[in-house]
Every structure is written in structure tokens, then in C-alpha cells.
């Protein structure tokens, strides 16, 4: 918790902020120190101040990222490739019965106008809370579609063969309320207020054409808490998403981005809502936890390595002849010899309270790949057959969408459908 000093503006932001760490030595649990107090010397000694507050001085604009924006325009929607933001809301919609091709075009125009404005930090037309749009904090609005929408807009021949529900897996306990949908909009930001406003605006904007089917909120580490590019930790404490194609590389384009016809520049999104049983996970000691995944908890390094991105040695054996990385481990089972069987993960944690305040924790697993049937499904089949983590995880929702290609400054999302 940090306390904001008095706001002093002189030609832009001149607000000073302090990041505080720990408690004031000998003064009880004062975890947050107002900057003014530091400046006024209200702390007893410089030494105390040094141990309680780290001042990020100088150009304060570096500390304020609220007005930083992500460009909407581009061949690939920005929400696919940007460093994952702290907050994400996935919203799936069902089209109303009466929609026709013309209505889909109107839907796409509304989504495009809203996404373009919101990502620029500009209130869309008719926004009744326009001030909430001005601090986007890396907001992205990303649009994907289901088979029905494509069929109505452009006909059956435009529906990719892979755009259908995933095959049933033995571990699945899917609920309809977390599955399927004709349209998905992901609104993500490093500021929760910006995300909330954008989500509501989009939902309101398209309410005559699409009704909400489900919404899922996910979270990751706050912006600035870790160096850019750091893999997130899930609620089991594991570093998650280590093996991932890197946006901007040829490998990423090959694994993730579609080249097929109208969808060129688009991709597929697999959403899986996966419950994680933290209570039974508590029963497992660190050795067991690390064996379940095949990686060290502290570093994310494979059990045969020392740093997170070391290549695992699946043949390495211990003195008893057992493989160091167990055959049942999540990492071993997810890995394929077939280079095509790779995906781009962009997952988020979730935690929701029931009416009695009891939390349910889990992960909104999100993976992007050019073709989920040939890339995601083989991996999931292996994990379904054997993966130690299945002991503590239960998929309760599942959906597949075609993420639309991006578009240029004058373009409209979905324009290649028309």
C-alpha cells in the first residue's frame, strides 16, 4: 500500500510517488510512508527512511503509465501480442436470433469504433462516463468470433474446419455457463477501472445485437512489479508459461498466426476455465510439487537445469535410475517431438468468492495457435491421459474462437468476411 502525497502539478505530472517496502523499524507496522512526511523529515533518521521507502525520483512521468496506449491498427490484433496486462476480462456473447449479414457488419463497426477509441484513451461517441476512458493503461480490446457469426456473415465455406468445440476430455467437468459463445471480446488493461469501463461500454454498445453468455475476469502481477517479459506465477506458486513463442519472431508467426484466406493475420483462441484445488495442493510438499510439474518452484528451472529457460533433459536419471524429470510431470507430458504441436499461452489467474465469501481459485487458460486441432488438441490429449497436475486441476469451461485479423487505420475488424 502506498500513500499518495499531495498532488502538485506544474506543467504536467510532477507528482512524486514512493514505493514502500516493509515496516518502519521499531515503529510498528507502518508499511506505507507518505512522501511528504519523508520530505519534511518527519521520520526520525535518514537511515529509517532508507529502509522503509525507495524514492523513484526524477522524471515522474516514468512512474505514470495510465496514459500509455497500445496501437489498435495493425495486421494482428494487439491483444494477441502485447505483454499480458495485469487485468483481463473475457466476455463471450450470443448473437440475438434475428441477426443477419447486415447486423453483423454493424456489430463489427461498433466493436471497431469502440476498440479504436478506447485503446487511444478517447471516449467513444455516446460514452456516458467519458472521463473513465482517458486513462487506458495499455488497454487492449480484442475480438474473436464463433462459427455461427461467420456463417451468418459470410456462409459456411468461411468457417475454419477447426472452429468447433474441443473433443471431450476425460478430466473435463465442463459447465455450459463457462463454455461456448458466438463472439468473444477480451478487454485487458493494467488498470482495473479502465478495464471495467471499457467492458461495460462495449457490452452496452452491442446490446441490441449480442447478449452476454459468460464473463471471466483474470489477473496477473501488477504492471511494474516484475521486469517486462517475466513469466507470471499461477496460484499454485508455479512460474507459468515459460515455453512460449516470442511475439515478433518468425517462430511466433509460424506457430500462432493464420495465413488462411480471410483469416490471414488472425489466429485461434482456446479458453479453458480450470479450477485449481488449493486445499489439496496444500497437502503436497515442495519436492512433490516440483515433481508434478518437472520444474523448480523458486526459479522455474527444469529439474535438470538451473535457470527458467534451460532446456530440460528428459533422459537424465538419478542414482536409482529414475528420470529426474518424472514421466508423469506436466512439462514432460506437454512436450512433443513434433514442433508443430506448440501453442502460445497467455493465461491469467482467477479467484471468485461464492455467496459465503469462500474463494474458488483457478486459471483462465488462454492459448493462441494457428490451428487448435493440430496444435492444441494433441497436447491436451497427452495431458488428459497422464499429467500429475490433473490431481489438483479441473477444467470447468471451454471455448474456441477465431480471433479476427487486425486492420489498418481506416479498416474494420472482420472486413474480410464481407
Amino acid at each position: 500500500m502506498a500513500t499518495e502525497p499531495q498532488d502538485k502539478r506544474s506543467g504536467g505530472w510532477s507528482r512524486r510517488r514512493f514505493l514502500t517496502a516493509g515496516a518502519v523499524a521499531g515503529a510498528g507496522a507502518v508499511a506505507a510512508v507518505a512522501a511528504d512526511h519523508v520530505l519534511q523529515g518527519s521520520l526520525r533518521s535518514g537511515k529509517e527512511a532508507a529502509t522503509t521507502a525507495t524514492q523513484l525520483s526524477g522524471d515522474n512521468s516514468r512512474l505514470t503509465f495510465g496514459r500509455q496506449t497500445v496501437s489498435f491498427d495493425g495486421p494482428v490484433q494487439a491483444g494477441v501480442t502485447i505483454q499480458p496486462q495485469a487485468h483481463t476480462r473475457l466476455m463471450a456473447f450470443d448473437l440475438v436470433e434475428s441477426v443477419d449479414r447486415g447486423a453483423i457488419r454493424r456489430l463489427m463497426r461498433l466493436l471497431t469504433d469502440d476498440a479504436r477509441s478506447l485503446m487511444r484513451g478517447v471516449a467513444p461517441l455516446g460514452d456516458s462516463e467519458p472521463e473513465l476512458a482517458t486513462v487506458p493503461a495499455h488497454l487492449t480490446v480484442t475480438v474473436g468470433v464463433g462459427a455461427r457469426l461467420i456463417r451468418v456473415a459470410a456462409g459456411e465455406s468461411f468457417v475454419p474446419g477447426w472452429l468447433r468445440p474441443l473433443p471431450t476430455f476425460g478430466i473435463d467437468r465442463l459447465r455450459d455457463e463457462w463454455s461456448g459463445g458466438d463472439l468473444v471480446v477480451e478487454v485487458a488493461s493494467d488498470d482495473l477501472v479502465a478495464m471495467s469501463h471499457a467492458a461495460r461500454l462495449v457490452t452496452k454498445s452491442i446490446r441490441s445485437l449480442a447478449v452476454v453468455r459468460w464473463m471471466q475476469d483474470g489477473f496477473r502481477h501488477a504492471y511494474g512489479t516484475h521486469p517486462e517479459g517475466t513469466s507470471m506465477r499461477n496460484l499454485f506458486g508455479q512460474i507459468d508459461g515459460t515455453v512460449n513463442p516470442v511475439p515478433g519472431t518468425d517462430d511466433f508467426a509460424e506457430v500462432v498466426i493464420s495465413r488462411d484466406g480471410w483469416l490471414a493475420g488472425g489466429t485461434s483462441l482456446v479458453v479453458r476455465r480450470i479450477q485449481m484445488d488449493l486445499d489439496t495442493w496444500d497437502d503436497i510438499d515442495r519436492v512433490g510439487r516440483e515433481a508434478a510439474v518437472g520444474r523448480r518452484l523458486a526459479t522455474g528451472a527444469p529439474l535438470t537445469g538451473t535457470t527458467e529457460h534451460d532446456e530440460p533433459d528428459f533422459d537424465a536419471a538419478d542414482s536409482l535410475g529414475f528420470t529426474v524429470i518424472p514421466d508423469f510431470s506436466h512439462m514432460r507430458r506437454a512436450r512433443s517431438e513434433n514442433r508443430r504441436e506448440r501453442i502460445f499461452r497467455r493465461s491469467a489467474n482467477y479467484e471468485v468468492m461464492d455467496q459465503h465469501g469462500r474463494p474458488e481459485s483457478g486459471q483462465i487458460f488462454m492459448s493462441y495457435q494457428a490451428d487448435p486441432v493440430t496444435q492444441f488438441v494433441p497436447i491436451q490429449r497427452r495431458l488428459d491421459e497422464l499429467d500429475m497436475l490433473n490431481e489438483w486441476t479441473t477444467p470447468i469451461g471451454s471455448a474456441v474462437f477465431a480471433i479476427l485479423p487486425g486492420c489498418g487505420p481506416e479498416g474494420m475488424l472482420g472486413e474480410t468476411l464481407f
Partner: protein, 203 residues
Amino acid sequence: MSNFRMTRFAVTMTAGLLTVSLMTACSSNNATTVEKPQTDSTTTTQADSVNAQDVWAKAAPEGDMSAMFGRLTNDGDQTVTIVSVSSDEATEMQLHETVMGDDGSMKMQEKGGGFTIEPGATLTLEPGGNHLMYMELTAPLQAGADSTVTLTFSDNSTLDLSGAIREYSGAHEEYVPDHAMDHGDGHDDHEHDHDSDGHTHDH
């Protein structure tokens, strides 16, 4: 001159609140903007002098009322006056202003003498303020489509305004005319239906 009362606001809000526009910022610029080439002032019509920004209209079903909003800037050196507005999408359109009545309630009424814009000035049309009123839609205004209206100026020049149709729940256009009973109670019902199941109104 027709005089309309905005019934829902009148019963739920105080006059003091209503003196402040409910929407003070129309800050997007993704509306269709009408650009007019500037010509010699001796041949420049009033319509030529006016540029529009952030034009949008409120989605509404056929038969209902609606309104168009936006910002109109007079970039010429002569005062311009908008004297009327029309559209193929409504049986009638009116230039409306919002004023406080004797009883403290806000009333929509036709702007006598039209909207005058001084050189360099901008006329803001917004929910709760001045607006272009569709009296009875001959077709639904569907979110995501465009609506076009035609402004006529005092020199008989005309300007087409086109903007996106957007969902908007404020600025209820269920005005009950004080002395035009053909837009009576039936309208309340219609509007209510739209509010409760608006998503099914896709024609």
C-alpha cells in the same frame, strides 16, 4: 410552437441538477465528419462555413423519437443560422433546446429562430442540451448504422450531417407534448418495451 416535457427527468431529478448538462464531453472524433471546401467569401454559403465533428444519433425503434448530437463549428466569417432540419428517417425533425420551465422541470422545446453560430464559435448538440430531434422515426435507428439528416440555413443552403448510431440510455426522448395528443401515452409503453427487451429489436 411545440413544447415538450421530458417526463422521466422531471419526476426524478431536481431542477438544480438539471441546469448542468448530463454529458459534458463528446470527445471522440470517430464520427463521420463533413468537410466543405472553403471558397471565396462572396460565394460561400452558410453551409460551406460549417464543419461537423463527433456526430452521432441515439438508437431507437421505428415510430419512436430520437435525437442527433455533435459539434458544429462555424469556420467562416459570417454568422450562420440553422433554421430547420429534416431527414428521410423521420416524419418530422425539429431543432430543440432544453430550458427550465416555471415549475423547475426541464423541457424540450423547439428552438425559436433556429440555432445561430457566430464566426469561430461551436454549437454543441448533446444529451440534456441542444439537439436535433427526430419526432417520429419512419425506420429504426439501428446501432452501428449511420443516420443522415439535412440542415437548412437561413440563406437556404443545406448541409448533410451523417453520424454513427449508438446505444444511449440517457436523454430519454419520451417527451410528452403538452398539446399534441397524437404522441400521448402510447409512447411511454413503446419506450418501456424497448428498454426491457431492446436487444431483440433488430430489424
